[in-house]
Amino acid sequence: MELLERGAFLESLEGWLAAARSGEGCMVLLGGEAGIGKTALARAFCDRHGADARVLWGACDALRTPRPLGPLLDITREVGGELARLVSAEPTRHRLFGAFLDLLGSAGAPDAPGPRALPVVAVVEDAHWADEATLDLLVFLGRRVADSPAVVLVTYRDDEVGREHPLRTVIGDLATSWWVRRLDLPALSRAGVASLAGPHGIDADRLHRVTGGNPFFVTEVLGAAGREVPPTVRDAVLARTARLTPAARAALDAAALVPDRVEPALLEAVAGADAAAVDECLRAGMLRDDGRSVRFRHELARLAVEQAVPTARRIALHRRILAQLAASGHEPARLAYHAEEAGQPAAVLEHAAAAGERAAALGAHREAADHYARALRFADGLAPRPLAELLERYAVECARTDRNADALDAAERALACWRREGDRDREGALLARRSQHLWGIGRSREALESAAAAVAMLEAGEPGPGLAAAYTWLAMNRMLARDIPGAIEVGRRAIELAERFGEQELLSRALNAVGSAQWFSDPDQAPVTLARSLAVATDAGNDQAAAAAMVNLGSGAGEIRRYAFADRWLRQAVAWCAEHDLDGSGRYALAWLARCDFEQGRWSEAGTAAASVAGERSAGAPSRRVALTVLGRLRARRGDPDALSALEDAWELAVHTGDLQRLWPVAAGRAEHAWLTGRAEALPELVAEPFELARRLGHAWAIGELGFWLWRSGALPHSPAGAARPYALQIAGDWRAAAEAWHELGCPYERALALAEGDTEADLLAALDQLERLGARPAADAVASRLRELGVRRLRRRPRRATLANPAGLTARELEVLGLLGAGLRNADIAGRLHIAEKTVDHHVSAILAKLGVRSRREAAQVATARGIGAQDGEPAAPR
């Protein structure tokens, strides 16, 4: 069938395929309403290239709860080979997706040597029905396809993808990449409809008006070969069926009840439809032959026929279909669907639960939750034990998909069941799990109570995996509440039990809890413990736990200001999360990186990173808390607008957790802002409570920083016990030693503030110089006015280093790189020295060459030596 009015679209696809042939792949998002001809276009395009491209075809199914990774499995079945072997080995998602990506980049005969000849066209149909795992696959592919000789063509019904639809977020995410193209198919024009209608003698105007130019509707009407134009698609389809013999109609009805495709053998078993009946349907154009199965020409047609089947017959047919499919061992998702349609509760329960497990294993958590919910709807009369197990699994899936209220609800119901059963072991284990759900939504105090209750309950019995879980979650919660000795004590017990019972995930988490706590009691031991947590997680293939270990290696070091170590691990965490599509943890690591950059005076990098995390609407509370705090403090120090609103947003997010490490930086930021804007009297109120908490927990850096602000406002007469050294020195009045200590740590702003306590002109000028170089206007103004009071004749205000020694406007980072270039280092060495990726160094070097207006590294190095770049003050004295 020739396609009308789709020439331009085919041309675009041709162009993109040509680009893919030379290695520049793309993803095409083909949208349009149902029946507009997306599949027809895709098919026409693929048919043209059967010989010079490799075509892979997968479709998302119309089941209310679709099969997880449906399209991927379709393609695997077609392709066989390596991918099929891998799928049956049940690999991690990341490996599976990676293998699929390899398939896109490795078209051409499997035994052909040398460069691949054939580009790949991979079609994923009906993405508006995609399950969560398939959506993740699309994001994975969309981010990486630019380097593959492939065109990934994704079709979807744009009118069914509203603002809340999960595909919308995916499209939004992908559409910002230039290699993701969008096509939207329009309806046929009046002229197009007329050219189709001409030979049939139907009024083209009326046809166009009623059908709206929808190609499917038009062809259905024309296929009915009447002179009337039925008012709806449904009527048009049913008009066509009116001409079928009863046997064929029976076959059609049965086929309509099976979404997607159906084997003729099934039709025979269920509706007594022989080959002749099916043939008649094929000849009438109602069904299409797909090789091994038949299917409706379009989902709209199937729906129309399905709705016309009388209820009693529908239920009976579903029963028979269920029996047939169950006998031949079909996917549980399908079986659950038919069982529900057939109104058979026991079957729904059995198959929906199995479907849930399968979906969870493949990472389709949304679908798993739906399956379990369906099973629970039919779970009346289930004994407490199996009911509790079902509820527990449902709760886990709800938590994975951020439906925390539902998760907690289900956990409560499950707890009631375990209590009725008198199973204290399971009850305790669930209390521990519940603590995890509570922590996930920031109800930290309740999480702690739940974990403690779990431990109390389970310690009474024999030690088992349940007690290991309880100890692990208690340790985790105590660590988060900064109850360091408590965390380590329980954590050690958790480690011992987890090792004893071979619980690898718990072991990794427990090691994480203990290691993170050790940053505050034994900082040289912390990296060792956390490294072990990382190793256990990677060995077990647990990407999330590995990310958590890396993040805590970085953020823990950052919290005690061991910046070189922190920078290294946070960058690694960001890279790991990007590679494994762990967006949540990746954003958190990036926010922490911003904090470390901020504290080390790299304000331009900090601002960009923090603004990007804070501005992302889908970012979770933990990341936004950190990012908004950094943004607020940065704006306050620079004297930029909107400092207070950022800090107050951060405070809102932090205050209900009651956790010290979330409250303290915001409180300090608000205090600093109050000081810089001349409202010192507000300080004590902002800082008093977190300060008390810090004292109770013995957190040296929090005591120091918060105590410092209390002291500044006059509310603290002498140095608080247990304050971190630089703060203690400054409060005690030894500002010079404090400045030296800050210099060693690598905190230029704090160093400058310490120097500003001095009373000699030289000290104040040094402070002023540093503050101006950072761009800390309010603090610089304050120092300048003190200098004026001292009667110092102010020299012309020295502009920021950015304009003076740096007329080319290089950023601080670029100056660093240039300095190292001047010292003769290669890019790989520069990358090692600055703890960044070599690719990043390449970018910086390109920018430097452009800004300096030179053409080679050698010329740039000469500029560096000539201007004395590379000998910089304010850098940390000793590498760490």
């Binding site: 960009t608 704006r635 502009p799 304009t803 080319a808 406007g809 800004k851």
Partner: protein, 90 residues
């Protein structure tokens, strides 16, 4: 989108040639700004060319600073402003 007043100090004086090269430089600034959603409305330059007051629309102070860095322009002070003109109340 907030409006910002950005004060800049040029120790050697701001020098933009009044010819095609100058026009190209200004257009380059406009393009770089567009990457971050920042729009340069116009600027006021002091007679000795040492200070400029630039009016910008942008999503955040960080975006203003980011584009300033990319364009090699200094930033002394950023203030968020709203327009007030004499005939507003009449």
């Amino acid at each position: 989108m907030p409006r910002y007043l950005v004060q800049r100090t040029f120790p050697d004086g701001l020098r933009i040639p009044v010819d095609e090269q100058g026009a190209k430089a200004c257009m380059k600034v406009v393009d770089t700004n567009a990457d971050s959603g920042v729009t340069w409305i116009h600027s006021y330059v002091s007679s000795d060319k040492s200070t400029t007051f630039c009016v910008y629309d942008g999503p955040s102070p960080e975006a203003i600073r980011h584009t300033a860095e990319r364009n090699g322009l200094p930033v002394d002070r950023i203030t968020e402003v709203r327009v007030l003109d004499p005939y507003f109340y009449s």
